[in-house]
């Protein structure tokens, strides 16, 4: 479930960066339309993939519940941490992007 959690976290980070305002604030430059679209697609894809992995690993009942739980926890951490530790969270999102799928694949 840790892999799923990290993937969900990275997914939400992607969706956040896919918004022009946040992209500007966090990365300090203007995004191109293509970048935003790519971030959006990646973000949603990560969320969907994490859902599939959660249900595959834990069944519908537990999988769904745990997926929603780790997603809520991750995005809350992201939103409330962002004003205080933006660099740390960006780093964590990047690490999650690598570690998440790795852990999830190892668990399968």
């Amino acid at each position: 479930m840790l892999g799923v959690a990290l993937m969900g976290f990275a997914g939400f980070a992607g969706l956040c960066l896919a918004m022009e305002k946040h992209f500007n604030d966090l990365l300090g430059r203007k995004p191109t339309g293509r970048q935003l679209r790519a971030l959006k697609i990646t973000g949603w894809a990560l969320l969907l993939l994490s859902l599939i992995l959660a249900v595959h690993g834990r069944g519908w009942a537990l999988g769904l519940v745990e997926w929603i739980a780790v997603l809520m926890a991750g995005v809350t951490l992201w939103v409330f941490g962002l004003p205080y530790q933006p660099r740390l969270l960006l780093g964590a999102a990047l690490a999650s992007l690598v570690l998440g799928p790795l852990l999830a694949v190892l668990a399968v």
């Binding site: 969706l15 009942a61 537990l62 739980a69 809520m72 926890a73 809350t76 939103v79």
Partner: protein, 520 residues
């Protein structure tokens, strides 16, 4: 037209939120504590030692104890120790015996099978009961808390409509900007944890649905106490025929259950007519084993021959749906990390209500920032805000201090712990009335910080289960309580520091001033 509708919703959100917010705050906080009901009970009864789990041995010990001490009882109940509950609980009903309606319960040491003389305390059960009964006479508390659940659901829906920029501001939180930050925080916690909030308030209504027909729902609580009488007493069990026959070893029946459902954990085990030819033994699977409560996970045996007579009736689809909501609300299925998330989301729900209450007042206070005195109605809200939030925390702390400080021999000891809770809560109301808003907040939060942060020390001094022992022994329920109390204390100290140091309300149009406060 559309704006008119939104304004109406905002109005509804604002006023139902204010009127029911104080009570909802208490319901959410005690409900959040209830996710650690067993762990709290473990802390409040440190005499009960935690041992590695061994269900078969425990069951044998329970049977031996009951045969020796409750041979004439009409019914036995056994609860095996679990990951969360240290005690091996046995209880029995003896129509001719004393106790509450002939009902006696004992907690046994899971290793020796000896009765443990633990201090009298409701422990986590108190917060759990308060969460939906509000210490009011039956059934008024249940109705009121159910009505609050409805208001919460209403608050969520009207809140979503009022908020309007859900997706645009999904990731937005801007701290250090006074009212703006409170609103951001309120919205963000509300929206980001929305699935939990919706599930909790909707499932409360599902539970309420069963209040009218309590039999099935109470079975899912699976806890001891007088409910066994009403709920399970009417089971279809043959009458005792007054012919003695030895009861089959429960461990053998347990093995049969394990054959059918490998690895199943047991919620409780019930024996009707023990020692009689018409003995019946019922095993009920622990609610920790599945998300939805399962009525079908019940095995009934002939207590003499050991023959499996009946399995629980399967659930219909509608039943499974409502049982799923009940299961989701109670979170009995949650293992340690998911339980912590449940706890965190519960805190989030409490925070949504708390920030809402603070904002209601803050917004109106701004209008009177220049006048020397606040209007009476605002002062009333301020006092109630303080007493219902920091005051409630003081009450919770008082409960735990009373648990450790009251002598074990005190008559009505468990009730005095609860009195301590309400006395501290009442005192905080008095204190809030006598002091100005900011001072009252700061002082109560400081006291709360001390009261929670010192709980681990108090535990170490008054029991032999302090952190040094519990961590070494791997008793994480005990250690987790102490560490959580410490963390709560630190958080309250931080909040108290903000209240005591920061200047008078930050003006709405002075973001720069707000920034310097943040920086300092």
């Amino acid at each position: 037209m559309k704006e008119g509708f939104r304004q109406a919703m905002a109005w509804l959100h604002t006023w139902t939120g204010l009127i029911f917010g104080w009570l909802l705050f208490a319901i959410f906080l005690t409900g959040t504590l209830s996710y650690f009901k067993d762990e709290i009970s473990h802390w409040t009864q440190p005499e009960v030692q935690s041992h590695p789990l061994d269900p078969v041995t425990s069951l044998g010990l329970a049977q031996r104890y009951l045969e020796t001490n409750a041979g004439h009882a009409s019914t036995w109940f056994i609860r095996l120790p679990s990951e969360r509950e240290a005690a091996l609980s046995v209880s029995w009903r003896d129509p001719n015996g004393g106790g509450r309606r002939g009902f006696t319960d004992k907690e046994l040491d899971a290793r020796t099978g000896e009765a443990v003389e633990a201090r009298d305390s409701r422990g986590g059960e108190f917060f759990y009961r308060f969460h939906f009964q509000l210490q009011m006479p039956h059934p008024w508390g249940r109705w009121l808390s159910t009505f609050c659940a409805f208001i919460m659901l209403l608050g969520l829906v009207t809140g979503i409509i009022t908020h309007k920029k859900i997706f645009k501001e999904f990731f937005t939180f801007r701290p250090g900007k006074g009212q703006r930050s409170w609103l951001d925080g309120h919205n963000a916690i509300g929206v980001l944890v929305l699935p939990f909030h919706l599930m909790i308030s909707y499932s409360s209504l599902v539970i309420f649905m069963y209040m009218v027909m309590p039999a099935s729902i109470l079975a899912s609580y699976g806890d001891s106490s007088g409910y066994f009488n009403d709920v399970f007493g009417r089971d279809e069990v043959p009458k005792a025929v007054a012919q003695t026959a030895p009861l089959a070893p429960l461990t053998e029946l347990y093995a049969k259950v394990q054959e059918q459902a490998p690895g199943a954990r047991m919620g409780y085990i019930q024996v009707h007519n023990p020692g009689d030819r018409n003995a019946r033994v019922t095993f009920t699977r622990a609610s920790a084993d599945s998300v939805a409560y399962q009525r079908s996970a019940i095995w009934t045996f002939d207590g003499v021959s050991g023959e499996l007579l009946r399995r629980g009736a399967p659930e219909s689809a509608a039943m499974t749906t409502s049982f799923t909501f009940v299961g989701l609300h109670m979170g009995n299925f949650a293992g340690p990390w998911l339980r912590w998330l449940y706890f965190a989301f519960g805190v989030a729900g409490t925070a949504v209500i708390g920030t809402g209450l603070v904002m209601w007042l803050g917004k109106r206070q701004l209008k009177h920032a220049k006048s020397a005195r606040m209007p009476g109605e605002l002062r009333l809200v301020e006092v109630l805000n303080i007493a219902s939030m920091s005051g409630l925390l003081l009450g919770v702390a008082a409960f735990f201090w009373a648990n450790r400080l009251l002598p074990a021999t005190l008559e009505g000891r468990a009730d005095w712990e609860i009195n301590g809770f309400f006395l501290a809560w009442g005192a905080s109301l008095l204190h809030a009335m006598l002091r100005s808003g900011r001072r009252a907040w700061g002082e109560q939060l400081t006291l709360g910080a001390l009261a929670f942060a010192l709980l681990p020390l108090l535990n170490a001094l008054t029991s032999d289960q302090g952190l040094d022992h519990s961590i070494a022994a791997g008793d994480w329920a005990m250690a987790g309580f102490d560490l959580t109390a410490l963390a709560t204390g630190l958080f309250l100290a931080w909040a108290a520091g903000k209240m005591l140091r920061a200047p008078k309300p930050v003006a709405k149009h002075a973001p720069r001033a707000a920034k310097t406060v943040e920086a300092s």
